[in-house]
């Protein structure tokens, strides 16, 4: 029958006509409008369902008033339109009128929007695919929770029950992404702070898009559902058995890879072949059909830093790509070692021939003969058959030829001797590795310095491109580290998905009172300033201190790479609940949505705040009462910028590694400006002074040791009770002494009365308050008589939002 297009039309004089309504335009927004009946069922609708650019601007600006945008431009110039290039140095304005701050803010915003688009497009792809397989009516199943989509509910007001209910959410995101992208055009926006507001919205949409992605796959693909005992997974380059045909999957979108795994299972190949992954596809491969806690046969090789390293090892017999964080030189590199590259997502086609419509055996023949270096395969049924067949066909050929880019002992010696120590490699190295020094030592036959570089090296091969002697430096490092690589075998817990409602009920009070000292969320990529062990060290430090450590993505992998003296990883030593002293891995990149959602859930479930379309109030609650801080120590991607910025809009601060100054914009408060450290008490609208924490929403740290101190300090919240504040101060002061050698110089600002002081140091600190700050102490009663600038009031209701105050 013919299809009616969108619009208004009248139907008259028709008889016996059947009308099927496929989709009602604007239905989602209509459904989100508050009605009395709906409110009785789902609670009232908040003031900002389906926010667009202007909707939450007041909240952004409230945050920016304390957390000021700090711009660190990457370039003096703007090269964006044909008026330019314009020199903006010294905050000049370009030909279009935009100044340096505006340009830096636009660039930062564009990173956030790109990250948001990436996750959301991933979500759209997965959702469409899964609805095609299972239908729109499939009920969402995230485990034992009633609040199943906290980000979606908070932002849009919708409470999806089925996969089909996620479609209007995606439509909303897509509309806003288009609106936001339009503002990047020349002549669209003038004020830096308004680009910053747009970045915040892009960040929020990013979390909603991630949530859609993970809800779809957790529901339909048999992933663990809020399971603290999800199975342990092997992780590391040394886990792959190279004697078998090896499939390596790289990217973030597991949809196509599930067909490969199904084919392997259907054909009894799971013990005859190896399948390993890099980046988040790897995580989702190990979650696929593992809600029964059965140990996964899929393995995690590692992060983007390992992509070239595993390829050059010659171990993969075929590489299958999907999307995101895939190196752009894999086809070229794969060709050298006869490793076919199969692109399975139309976002990444790599110039390869599209063989989607061809016969699988014919494609295998062309790949095995080398007629084509790889191909595009967008039909997942065929992909599932193609990839294992290619691996099986290529394995004996490649083994016979001994294909590897790793030099032999003799070649190694020759290559090392070619180095003239010109220093070009060191200058090009993004990690500032002392490659020439290691090469000089290697000339004497000692490869230990080269071996040491392996863990610090991000595998980018910038060194090789500037080497005047054309030495394959990366391969030399890998050769020197062969033993270490073979021993790279750790364990990580498969992604558990959301934190459940019962876990929130059990932990909410401890978090808000501060008796659980905080949540440290270690997320993001692997662009670490000093090797992979940093994230392990940080996680261990906070687990030993009874913080909740939440992890995801590539950081979760690297944390699992290290073991204690008894040979145990942190995932074996500490349980996986949302509870103090636990480490919970939510899953892949898109599972980051569950970490931010945990804060929303505390507000909604523990504090009974209305979640629906109520972003500012919930974010205000998190900012003032939940001691959660994110750490994206190796953030390199635009997605990481979006995740962090979304957290900021939700009132969750984040610390990034030193590379992340290159994102161009931080949000840092002036701790010396007392006018910025005030809130309203919503009981009566009066002003209350607060301590300077969190002192940033997003910033960078130089070393992991400094990051530890910053994380502990910025878990302090105005709502801490005496015991909570005392516990938090204990950890902050101890960490400062441990890693900086001194007590912090502003610890006294956080003291409201003597009960706030750490027990073990109470007397010593009171003496310091008396002698250095002039506070009055009653030594008989061991009480502070006068001095504190902030008061302790257990009943206070701190808020940034005047409208929440009773008098308002």
């Amino acid at each position: 029958m013919s299809k009616l297009t969108t619009g208004s039309f009248s139907i008259e004089d028709l008889e016996s006509v059947q009308i099927t309504i496929n989709n009602i335009v604007g239905a989602a927004k209509e459904a989100a409008k508050p009605t009395k009946e709906a409110a009785e069922v789902t609670g009232p609708m908040g003031p900002t369902p389906f926010p667009s650019i202007a909707t939450l601007r007041d909240w952004s600006f409230t945050l920016f008033d304390r957390y000021e945008p700090v711009y660190t431009p990457m370039c003096d110039q703007c090269c964006y339109c044909t008026f330019g290039p314009c020199n903006l140095e010294g905050n000049k304005r370009g030909a279009c009128g935009l100044d340096m701050k505006g340009q830096a803010a636009r660039e930062f915003f564009l990173r956030c929007l790109t990250g948001c688009a990436c996750h959301s497009a991933h979500g759209r792809h997965l959702l469409n695919h899964i609805i095609d397989l299972f239908g729109e009516d499939m009920p969402i199943n995230m485990g034992s929770s009633n609040v199943i989509a906290p980000n979606i509910q908070l932002v849009t007001g919708l409470q999806p029950k089925t996969l089909g209910d996620l479609k209007p959410v995606m439509e909303y995101i897509e509309e806003e992404v288009g609106q936001l992208l339009a503002t990047v055009h020349a002549g669209q926006e003038a004020a830096a702070i308004d680009y910053d507001n747009k970045a915040m919205l892009a960040g929020v949409l990013d979390h909603v898009g991630m949530e859609v992605s993970d809800i779809a796959q957790v529901t339909a693909l048999g992933f663990p559902k809020s399971d603290p005992e999800a199975p342990l997974v092997e992780v590391g380059m040394g886990t792959i058995d190279a004697s078998k045909p090896v499939i390596i999957a790289i990217g973030h979108n597991v949809a196509g890879v599930t067909y490969i795994m199904d084919y392997m299972e259907d054909n009894g190949l799971t013990d005859k072949m190896e399948i390993g992954g890099l980046c988040c596809t790897a995580f989702d491969m190990t979650r696929y059909k593992r809600e029964d806690r059965k140990a996964p046969y899929a393995k995690i090789v590692g992060t983007i830093s390992k992509e070239l390293k595993i390829l050059r090892s010659g171990i993969p017999d075929v590489i299958v790509l999907d999307e995101q964080c895939v190196r752009a030189d894999l086809v070229e590199e794969g060709q050298k070692l006869k490793i076919p590259i199969i692109a399975s997502n139309d976002k990444i086609m790599y110039g390869l021939p599209d063989r989607t419509n061809d016969d699988v055996d014919a494609i295998v023949k062309d790949l095995v003969s080398g007629a084509i270096p790889g191909c595009v395969m967008l039909d997942y049924e065929k992909l599932g058959e193609l990839v294992p067949k290619v691996a099986q066909a290529m394995a004996p050929i490649r083994e016979a030829e001994g294909l590897s880019a790793i030099p032999t002992d003799e070649e190694m010696k020759d290559l090392v001797s070619k180095c003239v120590e010109c220093g070009e490699c060191a200058l090009a190295c993004p990690e500032e590795l002392e490659i020439p020094v290691a090469m000089e030592i290697a000339k004497g036959g000692d490869y230990s310095a080269l071996e040491e570089l392996h863990d610090y090296c991000v595998g980018c091969r910038r060194c090789e491109q500037v080497c005047n002697k054309e030495i394959p430096i990366l391969s030399l490092i890998e050769k020197a580290a062969q033993k270490a690589i073979a021993e790279e075998k750790g364990l990580v817990r498969a992604g558990r998905g959301q934190v459940s409602d019962p876990e929130i009920r059990a932990e909410g009070l401890n978090l808000v009172m501060g008796t659980t000292p905080g949540v440290i969320a270690i997320i993001g990529c692997s662009n670490f300033p000093a090797g992979t062990k940093d994230v392990y060290n940080i996680a261990e430090e906070f687990l030993n201190r009874n913080y909740i450590v939440a992890v995801s993505g590539c950081s979760a992998m690297d944390i699992g790479m290290y073991k204690d003296a008894d040979g145990k990883t942190l995932y074996e030593r500490f349980p996986g609940r949302f509870e103090r002293g636990n480490i919970l891995n939510t899953g892949s990149c898109v599972s980051n949505a569950h970490i931010s959602a945990t804060c929303h859930k505390v507000a909604a479930i523990f504090a009974s705040r209305n979640l629906s379309g109520n972003l500012a109030e919930i974010a205000d609650y998190s900012l003032n009462r939940i001691g959660a801080v994110g750490l994206a120590w190796g953030a390199y991607s635009q997605k990481a910028a979006a995740i962090g910025t979304g957290c900021n809009m939700y009132g969750i601060p984040a610390v990034l590694g030193p590379h992340s100054g290159k994102y161009r914009r931080a949000l840092i408060a002036k701790t010396y400006d007392d006018s910025k450290w005030k809130l309203y008490d919503s009981r009566n609208g009066s002003e209350m002074a607060i301590p300077p924490s969190p002192e940033f929403l997003i910033t960078t740290a130089e070393t992991w040791q400094e990051a530890c101190v910053m994380l502990a300090k910025n878990c302090i919240r105005v709502s801490d009770n005496n015991m909570g504040r005392s516990i938090k101060l204990t950890h902050w002061l101890e960490l400062s002494e441990k890693y900086l050698g001194v007590l912090p110089d502003d610890w006294w600002k956080f003291v409201r009365n003597e009960a706030d002081l750490p027990l073990a140091k109470r007397e010593m600190l009171m003496k310091m308050l008396e002698s250095e700050r002039g506070w009055e102490i009653d030594w008989k009663k061991k009480k502070i008589i006068s001095g504190p600038t902030i008061k302790f009031d257990v009943s206070a209701q701190p808020t940034n939002l005047k409208r929440l105050c009773k008098e308002a």
């Binding site: 140095e89 010294g90 300033p529 590379h659 100054g661 960078t700 040791q705 400094e706 050698g741 912090p744």
Partner: protein
């Protein structure tokens, strides 16, 4: 005298403005003439060769030390007064004329930089370069484009020798 002005090859490009290279002699004069200098020292200073020289430079002109990252224990061990501050935060505060400084006496006119990762300090200095009048003098091993004045790229040995010359001239 070590020629600290030769190699200004950039590890990446930030656009049109590049710092002027300085000799140890000029660097020492700039440090001496600064009205309100701050010695901003990064975690790289935990290398004992650098730490000794950083202490000598600070003591020679009684310059306040801002110890960034986790460099602080180096100064604590030496019994030298320093204040910890996060580098990114410091970069921001330096752009605020109302910042009371680390000692409560106001903002600084000159910062001297040592012991930093080049990509990190360069990024932080893009804020001071574009949004403040503070002078940034880098006496680090690498050429720092966003500083006002900087040594060029130096070998480790030349860098140490250049620092010794600065110390002698202070």
């Amino acid at each position: 005298m070590v020629d600290t002005t030769k190699n200004t090859k950039l590890f990446t490009t930030y656009g049109v403005k590049t710092s002027k290279t300085v000799t140890p002699e000029v660097a020492s004069k700039l440090i001496s003439k600064a009205k309100r200098p701050l010695f901003v020292v990064g975690t790289g200073v935990l290398n004992p060769e650098l730490l000794d020289r950083a202490v000598k430079i600070a003591k020679a002109k009684d310059i306040q030390i801002a110890a960034t990252g986790s460099s602080m224990p180096g100064f604590v061990d030496k019994g030298v007064k320093a204040n910890y501050i996060n580098l990114h935060k410091l970069g921001f505060y330096l752009t605020d004329p109302n910042w009371p400084g680390l000692d409560g006496n106001g903002n600084y006119d000159t910062i001297i930089l040592l012991g930093h990762k080049k990509y990190y300090i360069n990024q932080v200095l893009s804020a001071t370069k574009n949004f403040s009048d503070v002078k940034a003098i880098s006496i680090d091993k690498n050429y720092i484009q966003n500083a006002t004045m900087s040594f060029g790229n130096l070998s480790r040995a030349d860098h140490i020798a250049a620092l010794d010359e600065v110390i002698d001239l202070l």
